[in-house]
């Protein structure tokens, strides 16, 4: 099941990793369907072919020393300018863009105030850090 990665400005913090078919909410997706254009309230949705678990594990492998953590949101942020130009154009037009997981990882960094050590500490405290 593909993934909708929902981000929010100004930092591009990843706020949710939803499966396809899940409506992000009428305050985010202004259209009648879950896959409609995004409102202009600072939201972006990146559509990925991989399922949420695979996306999360790919992020872990690239950003952390863990094989998996509990979530792919809060800790990370996407810098739009590092996405492919076609994706940037799509985001500007509709607030949505289809990208690959590789393209996502190229644009991904830690959210403000976060780093690998802090993520590890939190996830270990929760018992959701697996190496």
């Amino acid at each position: 099941m593909p993934t909708q990665l929902v981000t929010h400005t100004p930092d591009g913090v990843v706020c949710a990793a939803l499966q396809d078919g899940v409506h992000a909410g009428k305050a985010i997706v202004g259209g009648t369907g879950w896959d409609g254009p995004v409102t202009n309230e600072g939201w972006c949705i990146l559509d990925l072919d991989d399922d949420p678990a695979t996306v999360r594990q790919s992020i872990c492998g690239a950003m952390l020393t863990a094989s998996d953590i509990s979530k792919a949101y809060d800790y990370f942020a996407v810098t739009d300018s590092r996405l492919p130009t076609t994706a940037q154009a799509s985001l500007a037009a509709t607030g949505r863009a289809s990208i690959t997981t590789v393209e996502l990882l190229a644009a991904l960094g830690f959210a403000p105030d976060w780093g690998a050590g802090l993520v590890q500490a939190i996830e270990q405290e929760q018992g959701t850090w697996s190496e």
Partner: protein, 452 residues
Amino acid sequence: MATVTKIVGASDSADYATISLWYNARRSQPSSGDTEVCVLEDGNHDWSSWQGGWADVDLIVKFQAQNSHGGVWANGARIVPTGQMSFASREDDTTIEFIDLVFDFPAAYRPLYLGTSSTTTSKTTNVTLTRCLAYNASTNSPIVRNGYNAPGVTNITATNCVLEGEGGQWYDVPYSSSTATDSYVVMTACTVRDAIITLQRHTSNSTTNSSVVANGCLIAIDSGMNSGQMVKLTANSYARGGSSVDCITTEAEATHDNWADNSRTNATYGVTFHLDGSTPSSGQVSWEGGSGPKYDFSLVEHANNLAIGYAANATMPSGDIEGNTRPGSPDAGAYQSEVGVTLTPGKLALSTSTFAPAVVATQLVFLTPGKLALSTTGFAPSVASGNTLTPGIGQLSISGKVPSAVSSTPRSVISTGQWSSSIDFAVGDEWVVTIDGPSANAPRIHVQLLFS
């Protein structure tokens, strides 16, 4: 002081699909004194989110169910977290409210975490749980953790809540900071089963305070869990300034008073609690139970159930966890049993119309009102609050005399022995013979009509 309400859930009409999305949409919006309301639709919600980015102003955040769970674990809006919800870096006063929610916690660490980055900024933090069902499967992780390392006050309030656990704490102050927040817990009309409160302080800090106050609570702690004591007090625990009013507990008297600071009113100790719906013996408490965990903690309706009508002294909420009205002498715990009603038929009055109530008879006549019947509709005559009782129509039975009503005084000849009378009839006259009187002694009556 604006209030902004948003709906979170899976339906197309929800504003946001998840709590994390709602938080990111709202975090920079509040001004000082504002209230942010997150209404949660029916179903499971993951509160896992790092909410350290709220505008650092005096803030009220409400998490409120769209529909009440009605006292049932599987219903309503349910918090089933995959991680902690962290209110980190808060330097201003904060109130976090949970209303009508079900908390279904796994064994792992998933609490509401209260944190600060300052060791000097004093602040007041309030966390309130109202009409919540909370189950914590963990034996060492809380539902609410106070990680503050700054002066100020943290007030934890639970009203009409079920707090069920497996020996772990539902609220704790775990850390040993040299500058720790005072922490006060007030529980009113709560049902507690194997859920602990843990209070600790740093060895170098003797100025911080804490207390646990319990009003009208049912407290059942297994003897193998924290030595059967609801409040975990360590060698470095906070001061003990608590109290207890109208509480029924499994704790021994000395154990209960250890945290209640020897200030208690109408407490009953060492009580046996049943979790199987069985009939309690006198002085026991019995819950409906069912299959656990996440038991049905409504009270078994029985006169022996000690919890029923027990909270006569505490200031109890007007309703219970299900919204049922509590009577003048409410039950202890989160669930109010059906209200006991005494049915007292009024005296049946007798009224007469069109004739005076004088009775003419040659023997004693008794007018005996019949027993007043009471009919109930749609329920057995175990009467709950809100049911309607309709007395039946009263019946009057009269013994010794037929209740004839005479509209006019009849012409009559009354005599004893033999008598005769003659009347001249005209053509077409009708005549009537009326024999009236008691039938005692079976008198024989002969009527002879002679026409000449």
